[in-house]
């Protein structure tokens, strides 16, 4: 559905994403890594918000691979690469329904129609209602998005990404800042969505990652250091080192070394 080859992004001397080869099939793949590992940069490269220094991004809908490396964000979106945001990024003063409806409308040829009333196009509103039903926001459809609680906004964030029949869903921390009671709802949502669409999920909550993923990819300092089923990745010593900085009980000094080593490398590169 989606693949990258040698994808690299450099900001000045810093290599944020380093030669990443990645392929996503119809599965739920989690992308994890410590803060600053390059996960969001990787997302931005996929959607065209950032242009890669090197490498390619390709998207497949039915049979043929299509190169979208240099496509603008609105082009990748209309080809089916939909994303949600880590920091809630919705249309605050529109109703919840309109948030999804306008996203649904983007994938039709009718968005440029200026001579007909919007109520003429029932199908967008219908689809939007279906999506709201799926994420559990039906009762809030007529409220302004800014009045939603944080948890509900996170659901709306996913709902907007679901609009317009995506080919691939990129979910950037749908659980960010959500209280523990609501986490289960969003976890269920992720699982149900993954049955219909290929999902690439960025997530920090390890319970969710290990519980829902078919596959886990670990980024560290821009490079893939592990790729495999959840149990295998969890046992991988490199992953433990990346997350804990080599910390093991009783070996604090080693840990400090392991942490400062790669940092100084990054500074001189």
């Amino acid at each position: 559905m989606l693949r990258t080859q040698g994808l690299t992004k450099e900001f000045g001397g810093l290599t944020a994403v380093d030669d990443v080869d990645f392929e996503l099939d119809h599965e739920l793949c989690s992308l994890i890594g410590p803060n600053g590992a390059g996960k969001t940069t990787f997302f931005n490269l996929l959607t065209g918000t950032l242009t890669p220094t090197a490498g390619s991004v390709e998207l497949r809908r039915e049979s043929d691979w299509e190169d979208v490396t240099d496509a603008a964000p609105h082009e990748t979106a209309s080809r089916g690469l939909h994303r949600s945001y880590q920091v809630t990024n919705v249309f605050p003063n529109s109703t919840v329904l309109e948030n999804v409806r306008v996203a649904e409308q983007a994938h039709s040829g009718d968005a440029r129609t200026f001579w007909r009333n919007v109520d003429h196009y029932d199908e967008f509103a219908e689809r939007a209602h279906e999506i709201l039903d799926r994420v559990g926001l039906t009762e809030r459809a007529d409220d302004h998005a800014s009045t939603l609680s944080h948890g509900a906004k996170r659901k709306l964030e996913v709902a907007i990404a679901l609009a317009g029949d995506p080919a691939v869903l990129l979910l950037d921390e749908p659980n960010a800042g959500v209280s523990s009671e609501s986490v289960d709802e969003i976890r269920d949502l992720i699982e149900s969505v993954a049955e219909d669409y290929p999902v690439l999920l960025v997530e920090h909550n390890m319970d969710i990652v290990m519980g829902v993923s078919d596959r886990v990819v670990v980024l560290h300092q821009g490079a893939v250091i592990a790729d495999g089923p959840p149990a295998e990745v969890r046992a991988n010593p490199d992953v433990q080192s990346a997350y804990l900085g080599g910390y093991e009980p009783g070996s604090l000094i080693d840990g400090a070394d392991a942490e400062s080593g790669p940092d100084s490398e990054g500074g001189t590169a």
Partner: protein, 387 residues
Amino acid sequence: MYDVLLNSPVSAEAQTLLPTVETMVGVLYFGLFAISFDFVSGYTGYLSFGHAVFYGTGAYTVILVANGKVPLLGPGTPFMLSLLVGGLLAVVLAILVGLVSFRLSGVYFAMITLGFAQVLYVFVRGWDYVANNPRDGPAVGPSHVEGFQIGVPGVDQLSLAIGVLTGDEVSLLGSTLSSTAVSYYMVGLVVLGCYFAMQRIIHSPFGRVLLAIRENEERAVAVGYNTYLYKLGAFAISGFFAAVAGGLFAGFRRSASPENSFYFLVTGDALLASIIGGFGTLAGPLYGRLFDETVREFLSPAGQGGGLLPYLRALLGQETLDAAVVGNETVGGLIDLLLNGHASLYVGIVFVLFVLYVPDGLLGTLRSRVGGTFAEAVPARIWGDDR
């Protein structure tokens, strides 16, 4: 209406408070310009500070066509057609300006459109093809002595001329409408048509995209909209209606100058009207302009439609006026000092108060009070919500 009130027992008060019919014609065409300004600025969030250029384009086109200075279009070209030509010219101009300007956003967009406008303003001021004295601007010359007709071109029965001196008078059911009153209704007809057209666009799928851009442009891009094209489209549409407004202005006044068409303060007046009336509500700017003009006329000196100053003078009588208040200053002198020719000062204060305390403007605030547009809220109040 106006005449009825002036002949009524409260005539002095009515003359004091109400603007004259001539002012009202100005409210209409300038209101349309303010609406077109609000169409792009209030709905996409991009402040078009050079909007006066489109107003000026419309105004100059009408006058130059009437003077036979536009190739292919003789002085006999119907007014409705030259309005349309002015509008289309403005569309071309808007696309050219927009292609460059929409690469920027926020204050930089406002500045670059202002820059384009000032370049054209200076250019028009020095272009001696348009008028003998381009600094004073063109006036309709002897090639087009009759009034500009609004209506169906070529059908005299369905057209009426506008203008204070050149307009038609109409006798209807025993009462005669003056040429100014006829102008009021005919200009109003065009303005109403343009308003409905813009209203339609705002409530179309295209209009919803504009709102999405104002709300959150980054997300609008992320769901698949090429916002650049949508903004450009909105800018062109807005330019068209601004030019129609300019054309009406020129058709009624029969002259235009760079100062009252191309100059950036003209845009400033539209911004003022938009903010007072309600930014992001289509009809708001018209009410804003009405409010603005009413306050100005209310505070203007005698002989310009009546206002507070002559009203107070008449009401208080000569004796009170001559009475000394502070030192040598009489009451009359004090009123003069406070009111004479200071309308702009007070309008400025009103503007500041609006920005501070009524940020949604007249219409925006009223709508949030009644909970929706009037067309929906008023019937709901009367017949209950369960229609």
